[in-house]
Every structure is written in C-alpha cells, then in structure tokens.
C-alpha cells in the first residue's frame, strides 16, 4: 500500500493522466472549521490550500469556501473547506454550516488554555448538530511558539481527543509544520466507499442527522442556460 500524501492540486491533477479516469473523479468532501476567534483557523487553511502564511491576517473576509485536492492511494479527494466567516463569535452559525459536513477541524491555540476549552465545546456542538459519522480533528495551532509560550501540554489535548474519539495533532500554519498531515489523516479516515455509494455519482452529499435527500433529480441553478457550468472541466491546474 502506497503512502498517502497530500499534495498541491497541480501535482495531483498531473498524476491523474496516468491512471483510470473513472477512479480519479475527485470525491468531494465538505470540511468545516471551528474554534475560537484568532486561533488561526483561516491561516491553517491558507497554508494547506495556497501554501502561504500572512502575518497579522485580518479576520476572514471574502471566501465562501476554499477547495484543495488531496491524493490518497488511487483516489482524489476534493476538500471543500468552509470557514466560519466570523459567525462563530456569537454562536450564530447557521445549521447550513454543519449540514452535510463529512469532516471538521476544530482548532485551538497551544499558547491559550482557554481556547482548548472552547474547542471542547465546539466538539460537543458538532456531536449535537452534525452528521453522526463526521470525522473530527482537534488541531493545536501555533506549534512554532511551543518552546517559548506553550500553555497547553500536548498530552492534555491528546488524552481528551482519545477519549472523545477525535484525530489529534499540533501544527503551525506559520511554518507549515504538520499542516498537510492533518488533512491527509482526515482524508484517510473518511469512509470514501460509503460516501460514493450513498451519492450514486451525484456531487452532493448525504444529510446530517441521518436524513439526506435522494441523489436523483437535483437541480443545479448555475448549470442552466446562461449559468455557470459547475461540471468538473479540464481545469487549468
């Protein structure tokens, strides 16, 4: 079995030419970010998606969602990553946010113990609101500050994660340490076969809370005449 690896979309797409096209239709996975404000949720995603980091990044503005492909064995997973857009600050996230999410990254700041408590309450919220099979990763960000100002012992977070059945890692959006691995581990844990079977080839996803609409007959507003074509075309990447 080959080692799974997350790579920028370009590399994944380049590799695609060699293998059977049918298996390489990207499997879309909705991933939601959660965590206290300013723990670096968006920075982690920007590192993962664009491999970049901005010091003193403004609070999230202007991204409906970001996407990144991730190659796993003979499959390509296309993460559709939803940022909270600040709606978490006053606990005003809409049910739409959690709906159909197959994965969640709950972020805390390893220099701020209170942010881990907040992360735990987000995990509870996910267990209450989201798809029961959601894969949750608890990620301690700002690993680059571990030597100087660590406030949360790594063991504390991992013990909690083990107990709650979560993936767990520490990472640094600033240096890029461990960021790819977090997403790769998530990709490995998502029941892809089940997902594909449930969708029957449809782009959408199964519902949260056990419901979930039938895969047939879904209307794509943008695919109609004059609309944006959302089919996976031969993209520039």
């Amino acid at each position: 079995m080959s080692t799974p690896s997350a790579q920028p979309g370009g590399a994944a797409a380049a590799a695609a030419g060699a293998v059977d096209a049918a298996t390489l239709k990207p499997i879309q996975v909705k991933l939601v970010l959660l965590g206290e404000a300013a723990v670096g949720k968006s920075s982690l995603v920007l590192r993962f998606v664009n491999n970049e980091f901005q010091e003193n990044k403004e609070p999230t503005i202007g991204a409906a969602f970001l996407t990144q492909k991730c190659k796993l064995d003979d499959k390509i997973i296309k993460f559709e990553i939803w940022d909270t857009a600040g709606q978490e600050r006053f606990h005003s996230l809409a049910p739409m946010y959690y709906r159909n999410a197959q994965a969640a990254v709950v972020v805390y700041d390893i220099t701020k113990p209170a942010s881990l408590d907040k992360a735990k309450s987000w995990v509870k919220e996910l267990q209450r609101q989201a798809n029961p099979n959601i894969v949750i990763a608890l990620v301690g960000n700002k690993l680059d500050l571990a030597a100087t100002s660590r406030g949360v012992p790594a063991e504390e977070a991992s013990a909690y994660a083990a107990e709650a059945g979560l993936l767990c890692a520490e990472a640094s959006a600033k240096t890029g340490d461990n960021v790819m691995d977090v997403f790769t581990e998530i990709a490995k844990k998502i029941p892809l076969e089940q997902l594909l079977a449930a969708r029957g080839g449809r782009g959408g996803a199964s519902g949260a809370g056990g419901s979930g609409a039938a895969g047939t007959g879904r209307v794509d507003l943008n695919a109609g005449p004059g609309g944006r074509n959302t089919q996976q075309g031969p993209c520039a990447c």
């Binding site: 999230t60 857009a85 006053f90 739409m96 419901s211 609409a213 879904r218 943008n222 944006r228």
Partner: protein
C-alpha cells in the same frame, strides 16, 4: 458578549429573507453590517425546524414574545389509529398475552419491559420538558401526575396503563425528530423568477440545493385532477374537448407575451380577470385551471377583484417558468426554502465582514437622535450599538411604533402540517394540490404542498403535507376540510394516506409593507400568504439602492473553487 466594534453603517434586525438579502447585498458592497435576531434560529417567519422544535414553537404558551405570539390557536391531531399507534398497541397486546404466560412461567420479564418503556418515556420528558404540553394535548396525560408518578408505582400486577400505547407511539415519532425539516411557511421558487436569477447570478445559489416540483393538482367537482403543465399535457388530456383545447392553447400562447397584444385585453383593463377569461369563451373548469392552478390565486375575494393586467402578469410569470427544470414552473428547496435562503444570504454577509448575533433580545431602539449617529440600538445586556441606517422586520416594529401609529394590518394565514404514512398520489413526491373556494365546503381556497425525503423534509417512509389558507374569514375549518379530503378519514379507506401527526396553527404577522420611517429607518414585512418569495429580492433591492446608491446589487462572487 459584545462586539469590539459598536458602530456600523447598517444594523439589520430580523433574519427573514428580505432582511437577509439586504444584509448580504450591503456587506457585499462594502458596508459594515450588524445583523441581529432575537431568535436562536435564522429565517423568522420562514424558519424551518425539526419536529420537536416545530412543536415547541407552535405550542409556546408565551403571549408576550413578539415573535412567538404570532403563532396561536394551535391544535394537535395525533390519531391513535395511526400506523405507529396500531403497531405499538399490537406490541402491547402481544406483550400482555405473553405476560400471562410469562408470569405463569417465570414471572416478571414482561413487567420489566413495560417499566423500561415508562422509564424511557420519563427520561425523554425530562430531557424535553417543552414536550409536556404536546403529550397532554395528544395523549391526554399529565406528565407530572401520570408518567412520573406511575414510574414509582409498582406495576407488578401486570396491568397496562391505557395511555401508554399512544404515548409510546408519540415518543417513537418524536425520536426521529431530527430527520424532519418542517417550515413555518413553505415556499416555492419560480424557475425563471427574479429570485432564482439572483441566486444564480450572485453565487449565493451555491449554498443551496433544489429539486423540481413534480405536479400541480386541482380539486375540481369532487375529484383531484392533474393541472396540465405543458402543451403536450394539454393535448394529451383525454377529458378536455378539442374545442376547449384549442381555446386554452390560444389563450396560453397569448398570455405568454400578452403585452404584445394589448388590443386583445384593452377593453378589460382594470376589470376583473375572471370576466376577461369568460370573454375568451373558456369553460369554468379551464378558468379554474388558469386562476387557481396557474396564477395560483386561491383567496375568494382576490379571485373576484384581480384585474385583468394583474391576472395576466401572474399567468405569464407561471408560464415563463415552465420547461426549465422538471414538469412544473417551480423549484423546491431542500431543508426549507425561506430558512435556507435566509441562511445563505446571511453567510454571504458574514463572508464579507458582517457581524451576526442571534438569540439577542433588544430593549430599546432609537431612530431620531438629535446629534451623533441617527440610529442606536440597546441590547438587553446593556450594550448600545449605533448605525447610520436600520433595516428591520415588522416583528421589531413595536420599538419604533409603541402607539401603533404605523399603518399596519394583521396578515393572517391558517396553516396545517400533516405527517403522513403514504404519499398522496403514488409516485409523485413533491406536489401541490389547489382547492378552490367552496370546492370542499371551504370558505377560502386552500393550497396543500406535499414534501418528502427528496427535499429532506422527513424520513424516507413518511410524507409531509403543508396546508395554507389566507384571506378574510379563513379558518381552521378550511384546513381541516382539505386535510379530510386528502387523507384517510374512515379506517376502511386504506387507499388514502393516514395522518400520523398534524399540527394546525394560525400565523398572524404584522403587515406594514415596506415603510421608510425616516431617512435612516425602514421596516419590511415578510411574505407569508403568497406561495412564492418573489417580492423579497425586489424589496431588498429598493432598500439597497437607497442605502448604497450607485452600487451594483449583489454582483457575482469570485468563485475560488474554480481556479485552484
């Protein structure tokens, strides 16, 4: 809990669709927006709930709450003859029969099973204290006296409590609560309507999922018939005479582009549409088809007063939406149209920097400051936010208008939500049945919209039908009659679906149109009685243009997912 920032360009109160489009469009145009709702859910009167929360909102018992008090006169129908209750009763009987033998043999195991059920019921009621009223109304049990006291009583005599089978059946239904998405006010989207175009153009549609409505039915002379949705349907219809077919086709072709043939209806301008249709020599049945199932006018007064121009515009809107997706002119949104659309525009607003605070009660709003920012809003927690503009739903009107000087009417809609064990018409899962006034002894016309698992309204084995009747003198009776006409009233009639649970309620919304109170404050009213949401984008646009003149309204969002 305060935002570090307390001054905004615009404060928006209420997360109904109009307010949400305004919030999203203004944030998109670079305005700073604070969006507040007193409720913990999005959508106000268009919200969507799981089963338990729907029952909670409709059985609230809080007359002073400005939102909840819009919902009253609730009636719950939980038929003991329902599939679940029957099953539960059967199980109970088997249990009883076995119990005699069991007690004779080894004694006790059945008693344990029964007391387990009671424990489960008691546990559930402890977790959901709001459901007390629901159990009381449907099963006639007083939770405190009956369930909890019986728990402590010994049941070793093997006697089963009469309320137990029904309560257990209700509990089983409530346990599947999360599989339901039930709308307070269900809505359809015209496939080529302004709202769908806006969703496609702005990119907000990416957050949403839709399915096409399968069919529209008309209740005519004692039976339900399919309303033709296309030329093929008209010609294929065996029950319409050839002459009538020709007349209908001629009329529909004209109505599609009626403005171009002004001469044909000039004499009827300002006169009733009904008389214009009669003048076209259309039969009463075809007139009913055009008025009730195409223009979707069902209020008896409107049927009479609707002018020819208005009627033609409604007919044209319907005809132009045909043939885009599916067999009808309409789309149904998954998880509930009003609720999802509101959330999607709110997300757009948040993505462009808008601040969201839900479950946030206000104590005071001022819109006439002598100096400083024109608008200030004080929250119950003491924080004061200021802004240059305030856009508010009519459920906040009491703050601006304590003496009810604002011209306002009450807009009353009677509604019913029924959970059924079978679909109404075989294969069709998403459909509308229109009952014209007096077709089933009803005063006002009734629209019944069936939804299913296809749009995540309910579990796969169930169906949901939303009933609505509006207009003067609409009543619970109108809803009841339509419910009876469509479902299994007599137990022998197994061909019709059985009502497992139905909630009938009255929705009364303060209606003041769209009113600018001064240069900085505007109140808008949700569309509760119409079957669609076409008014919301138009109203939102007019508010946007006044607050952000010259700016583009909801330009397309750059799609980051395309070029990664």
């Amino acid at each position: 809990m305060t935002a570090d920032k307390t001054h905004f360009d615009v404060i928006v109160l209420g997360t109904g669709l109009t307010e949400s489009i305004v919030a999203g469009s203004l944030a998109r145009a670079g305005k700073s927006v604070l969006h507040i709702d007193r409720n913990e859910f999005y959508g106000e009167h268009l919200a969507s709930f799981d089963l338990i929360n729907l029952l909670k909102v409709t059985n609230h018992g809080k007359e002073e709450d400005p939102f909840l008090s819009c919902y009253d006169e609730v009636e719950l129908i939980f038929q003991s003859g329902g599939e679940e209750a029957k099953e539960a009763q059967m199980k109970e009987e088997v249990l009883k029969t076995n119990s005699v033998e069991a007690t004779a043999r080894d004694g006790g195991s059945d008693v344990e099973a029964k007391s387990d059920r009671k424990t489960e019921l008691a546990d559930f009621l402890r977790d959901y204290p709001d459901m007390d009223a629901v159990f009381k109304a449907t099963c006639g049990i007083d939770v405190e006296d009956t369930v909890l006291s019986h728990l402590t009583k010994s049941t070793a005599d093997g006697e089963s409590e009469p309320w137990m089978p029904k309560s257990w059946a209700l509990l089983e239904l409530l346990r599947t609560s999360r599989q339901y998405n039930l709308e307070l006010c269900p809505k359809l989207l015209y496939s080529r309507g302004g709202l769908v175009e806006l969703l496609a153009k702005s990119g907000v549609g990416r957050y949403l999922e839709f399915k096409a409505l399968d069919q529209i039915y008309l209740f005519w002379e004692g039976k339900v018939e399919q309303a033709p949705g296309s030329k093929e349907d008209v010609f294929g219809n065996q029950t319409v005479s050839l002459v009538d077919k020709r007349r209908l086709m001629k009329f529909l072709t004209f109505a599609m582009d009626y403005e171009e043939n002004e001469g044909l209806f000039d004499a009827f301008k300002g006169k009733p549409y009904q008389s214009f249709l009669q003048d076209q020599k259309l039969s009463p049945r075809l007139i009913a088809f055009i008025l009730n199932a195409t223009a979707l006018v069902v209020e008896r007064e409107t049927l009479v007063t609707l002018s020819t121009e208005e009627g033609l515009a409604l007919t044209q809107r319907h005809l132009r939406s045909l043939g885009r997706w599916g067999k009808t002119a309409f789309l149904v949104a998954l998880y509930g149209a009003g609720s999802e659309l509101s959330q999607a525009f709110c997300r757009l607003c948040a993505v462009y920097g808008g601040t969201y605070i839900l479950k946030y009660p206000l104590s005071h709003i001022s819109i006439s400051s002598e100096s400083g920012p024109p608008v200030s809003v004080a929250a119950d927690d003491g924080t004061v936010y200021t802004a240059s503009w305030v856009v508010t739903s009519s459920t906040y009107a009491k703050y601006f208008d304590p003496e009810h000087k604002l011209e306002a009417e009450s807009q009353t809609v009677w509604r019913g939500i029924a959970i059924l064990d079978q679909p109404l018409y075989g294969q069709s899962t998403l459909n509308v049945t229109v009952f014209p006034p007096e077709s089933i002894g009803n005063v006002q016309g009734v629209m019944a919209t069936q939804q299913s698992w296809d749009v995540s309204s309910c579990p796969k084995t169930k169906y949901v039908v939303h009933f609505q009747a509006s207009g003067p003198c609409c009543s619970r009776e109108d809803i009841r009659k339509a419910l009876v006409a469509l479902t299994n009233d007599a137990p022998a009639d197994a061909a019709k679906p059985t009502v497992l649970l139905a909630v009938l309620y009255r929705q009364t919304v303060r209606s003041c149109g769209t009113t600018w109170l001064n240069d900085s404050a505007v109140v808008c009213t949700p569309e509760t009685a119409t079957p669609d949401l076409e008014q919301a984008p138009t109203v939102a646009r007019s508010i946007f243009d006044r607050i952000a003149p010259g700016e583009e309204f909801l330009p397309s969002v750059p799609d980051q997912s395309e070029d990664m």
